[in-house]
């Protein structure tokens, strides 16, 4: 049995130690947020927070977690089930098409806004660069992050268009 703490709860799972965290979250803990996208850390669909830092859960063997705490999209909601600020902002901006990438987008954006709720637009873009979206929902995702930053008492600063 391997112990891990996910969204504040301690779990014991009976899996091969090399099982990536992603598979444990989805299949043992029935959490849908993190998605299998590439398995090699190139798309960000599986992004979760490990002690507050965004990581590709497809690349982390569950046995390598140690005492680090895992937070997923589901863990951003409050105890009474109210969705997290970013989830609310994404819905308000209708920032999804197929939506398969969105959980990873929200989790990665959460890491940024927890650290800095007044980023520049370029900082948001650079921060989200590891995560792919194929539907082209990017402009809405950026608007949703901006809205969430404002809801958190901050905001996203525009910078003058510089040289390319």
């Amino acid at each position: 049995m391997i112990a891990l703490t996910v969204n504040g709860q301690l779990h014991q799972v009976d899996v091969d130690p090399d099982t990536p965290l992603l598979y444990v979250l989805r299949n043992e803990l029935a959490l849908n947020g993190a998605k299998y996208g590439c398995g090699v850390g190139q798309c960000g669909a599986c992004t979760v927070l490990l002690d507050g830092k965004p990581v590709f859960s497809c690349l982390v063997p569950v046995a390598a977690l140690g005492n680090r705490k895992v937070r997923t999209l589901e863990g951003l909601a409050s105890a009474d089930g109210t969705p997290g600020v970013l989830s609310i902002a994404f819905e308000a901006e209708q920032a999804a098409q197929c939506g398969y990438c969105i959980a990873g987008m929200i989790v990665r954006a959460q890491a940024l806004l927890e650290r800095n709720n007044r980023p520049t637009e370029d900082e948001v873009r650079a921060h989200l660069a590891p995560n792919l979206c194929r539907c082209g929902t990017h402009v809405r995702i950026l608007r949703a992050v901006r809205r969430a930053a404002e809801m958190m008492g901050g905001g996203v600063r525009d910078v003058a268009e510089g040289k390319p």
């Binding site: 899996v15 091969d16 090399d18 099982t19 990536p20 598979y23 989805r26 299949n27 029935a30 959490l31 849908n32 947020g33 998605k35 299998y36 996208g37 590439c38 398995g39 090699v40 190139q42 798309c43 669909a45 997923t72 999209l73 589901e74 909601a77 969705p83 989830s87 994404f90 819905e91 209708q94 920032a95 999804a96 098409q97 197929c98 939506g99 398969y100 990438c101 969105i102 959980a103 929200i106 370029d122 948001v124 873009r125 650079a126 989200l128 660069a129 995560n131 792919l132 979206c133 194929r134 539907c135 082209g136 929902t137 990017h138 402009v139 809405r140 950026l142 268009e161 040289k163 390319p164």
Partner: protein, 739 residues
């Protein structure tokens, strides 16, 4: 359908059956106009709308939610016509056991096929409810008010739909041209929030990938690294003994691993892959597949021929050649299906775009009658056309047959999606035209070379597994899709008023690689070529590109879209690096114009897009924000295709096996701003929005880059390498040896 099923609705009789019979008799009258959309295929009202005894309304559509907002738009239409709250409507999408057969969800057809059918079916149902209420209240039909799921008389008497429907049969044919609801709350045209988004932003069960059935096993299919390869024989018995492996399923060359745990199935797959692979078919022609397309034997087929006087000899000829490489759909979530084999029947939960054609193909593959195969659409990641969805459904069904009674979830690995999905066809287009002294186009010749643009399966031979089982099924012979829809030829016939215009398809039947429908089919490339060429002609004529287009454009709606985009962009005061393009999708669907501003770094060749303005006319706009979402997404996706995407090959395999080998656009390259203006045309036919932007976005980019650099790039992608190569000064002529 909840509560009262179709069968029990049928059982109700009396007065209502009389209605029903008279309706059907009317509908069969030869003078009655045809039923609109897919009502013509499925004319019975209860194929589309159900109302149970509690008044719960269920809408049935044979189309699928692909993340384009289909469910929401159809709910809006039904709620509007039935005068109920959208939240009071359940929707059931593509399911061979429950919904009408509406073919595939593709080609921006859903609103034209299903939206129109549901609109008219709901109007029919409302009329029946109004008649029943009028009868009950003993008042005229024009004195009945419908709102909030109930009928009201002016004196305050009311009766709910559930009670009214108890005396009605909806198992009757629709009447054509039923009047739309004119009074009360308006829902069509409102930005109703998408019903599928809450689950997607909160970790709800939203995708077939998220399905967890009791006792479910996990499977992986075993294939070589890409289309046209196979794995070398491996020690299957050793793999069968690996921990957690339930079964290694074999049928001819088809191989799948079923395990009690997903990661264990993956580990077994890796072990089989370690045996190495070999090419199964002919070597691939070359790394430059575009050149190969031109070199393969082609059948010449006329596309269009608009007569006119030949251009006079003094007319100025302009010629150019454009190309597009093979492109990938590149779903973010690899294809997945869940299948359950029970009692010699199989149920497959699938993100296929066509559950009925898939059922037919699976029935042939599995040697079952179609009634024993049920395909239920459940959303997957966005597909943008024919990707691995159908193939993985067959893989899962074959795996499930080996473990009856136990559901099997099978998902492709990333490298399998990249390696095996059918690609969007490469294309080469040559255009020539002449300019008169007055700056008008005098002749036009469009030649295009391409493979087919659809190999969507409706037979077992169209599925990867069908070619692997023993005996194998033969893939259907590829064929061109004729206009007006068109395949390679889609949008090859210019919308502009041109005398003496001809188009020829050089149809290349032999497919070096597996291809099929990619969002827009040939339209993206044809519009890229035509709209690039229009700018080249405008330049030769010394005309402004927008004014030049308007001078050749008669269609009033087209002109309005062009003028609106130009106006919102501030075209008159435009700076450098600005481009414009326009098309009407298929020349019969949505109008879309795109104006774009780019900055090109001359040292790196990188393109930045600070600003995009689009104007679109999709007919009556059911959900304008949904249309904007589709157009924004189409622009960004087409920019990704046009600036950085090309599937790479060597002679043995596809080498674009993951996102590092097939990079797509990431956040830093996303346009600074995208503004989409939607022109609403109330009461005009729905024209669809999903594919309208692909062509104009790519062409506007090319035109803006040409404007920025003063030189034209005609081959997609307009990659940094190509831009740097184009800007590199020509090498000096070789010096004569000193004598």
């Amino acid at each position: 359908m909840r509560g009262v099923g179709r069968r029990s609705l049928l059982a109700h009789g009396g007065l209502v059956v009389a209605f029903a019979l008279s309706r059907r008799a009317v509908a069969q009258d030869a003078d009655i106009p045809a039923l609109p959309g897919d009502l013509a295929r499925s004319p019975l009202l209860d194929s589309w709308i159900g109302i149970d005894a509690d008044g719960q309304v269920t809408v049935f559509t044979g189309k699928a939610e692909l993340g384009q907002g289909l469910k929401t738009a159809l709910i809006q239409i039904a709620a509007h016509e039935l005068a109920v709250a959208p939240a009071a409507i359940d929707i059931v999408t593509a399911d061979t056991a429950r919904t009408p057969d509406e073919g595939v969800t593709a080609g921006s057809h859903s609103m034209q096929d299903s939206g129109v059918a549901i609109l008219n079916a709901a109007a029919n149902v409302r009329a029946l409810l109004v008649e029943a209420a009028a009868w009950r209240f003993a008042i005229g039909v024009d004195q009945v008010e419908m709102r909030e799921g109930a009928a009201w008389a002016s004196d305050g008497r009311t009766v709910g739909y559930g009670e009214l429907v108890a005396g009605l049969s909806l198992h009757v044919a629709a009447r054509p041209n039923m009047p739309r609801r004119e009074t009360g709350a308006k829902l069509i045209g409102e930005n109703l929030a998408r019903v599928d988004i809450p689950a997607k932003v909160s970790g709800g069960e939203a995708y077939v990938q998220d399905m967890r059935l009791p006792g479910m096993l996990h499977a992986r299919v075993v294939r070589g690294p890409s289309d046209g390869t196979r794995l070398k024989p491996a020690d299957l018995e050793a793999v069968a003994r690996m921990p957690g492996v339930v079964q290694v399923v074999r049928h001819g060359r088809f191989t799948a691993i079923v395990a009690d745990d997903e990661w264990r199935a993956v580990k077994a797959l890796h072990r089989l892959q370690a045996a190495g692979w070999e090419r199964a078919g002919e070597p691939l022609p070359a790394s430059d597949m575009r050149a190969a397309i031109r070199a393969l034997p082609a059948r010449e087929l006329p596309i269009f021929d608009y007569p006119g006087p030949p251009a006079p000899i003094e007319a100025q000829p302009v010629r150019a050649r454009y190309s597009r490489p093979y492109l990938m759909h590149g779903s973010i979530g690899p294809s997945c299906a869940v299948a359950l084999w029970e009692n010699d029947s199989v149920t497959v939960w699938t993100h296929s775009q066509g559950v009925y054609p898939l059922r037919k193909a699976l029935a042939e593959l599995l040697a079952l009658s179609p009634e024993r195969v049920r395909c239920v659409h459940v959303e997957g990641a966005g597909c943008y056309g024919h990707n691995g969805a159908d193939d993985v459904a067959a893989d899962a069904a074959l795996a499930a047959r080996a473990v009856p009674g136990q559901p099997v979830r099978l998902q492709w690995m990333r490298e399998q999606e990249h390696g095996w999905e059918p690609l969007g066809s490469a294309m080469v287009v040559e255009l020539s035209a002449s300019l008169g002294a007055d700056g008008r186009i005098l002749g036009w010749q469009h030649d295009l070379w391409s493979n087919t643009h659809s190999t969507r399966p409706s037979t077992a031979g169209g599925l990867l597994a069908g070619r692997e089982v023993d005996p194998p099924f033969v893939p259907p012979r590829p064929r061109p899709i004729p206009l007006p829809e068109g395949g390679a030829t889609r949008n090859s016939n210019p919308i502009y008023a041109l005398p003496n215009a001809r188009g020829t398809l050089h149809f290349v039947e032999q497919m070096p690689v597996r291809v099929s429908a990619l969002r827009g089919l040939g339209a993206q490339m044809n519009v890229f070529a035509i709209e690039s060429f229009m700018d080249e002609l405008a330049e030769a004529a010394g005309a402004d590109p927008v004014a030049f287009r308007l001078a050749h454009l008669d269609d009033a709606r087209a002109r309005e879209v062009v003028e609106l985009a130009a106006d919102r962009f501030g075209w008159e005061l435009r700076g450098s690096g600005t481009g414009f393009a326009f098309a009407r999708y298929k020349n019969l669907a949505s109008y879309c114009a795109v104006a774009m501003e780019v900055r090109v770094d001359r040292d790196t060749g990188e393109i930045r897009v600070p600003r995009v303005v689009a104007a679109v006319d999709c007919g009556e706009a059911v959900n304008p924000d949904g249309i904007r979402n589709q157009i924004e997404g189409g622009i960004v996706q087409s920019l990704s295709w046009a600036t950085r995407e090309a599937v790479a090959f060597d002679t043995r395999q596809r080498t674009s096996f993951d996102w590092s080998a097939y990079p797509i656009l990431r956040f830093p390259a996303v346009p600074g701003r995208i503004e989409v203006q939607v022109i609403d045309r109330p009461r005009q036919p729905f024209l669809g929005a999903g594919e309208a932007a692909q062509g104009p976005a790519a062409a506007a980019l090319a035109n803006a880059v040409a404007h920025a650099l003063g030189l034209r790039l005609r081959d997609m992608p307009l990659s940094p390498e190509r831009i740097r190569a184009a800007l590199r000064p020509a090498p000096p002529p070789p010096r004569q040896a000193a004598g």
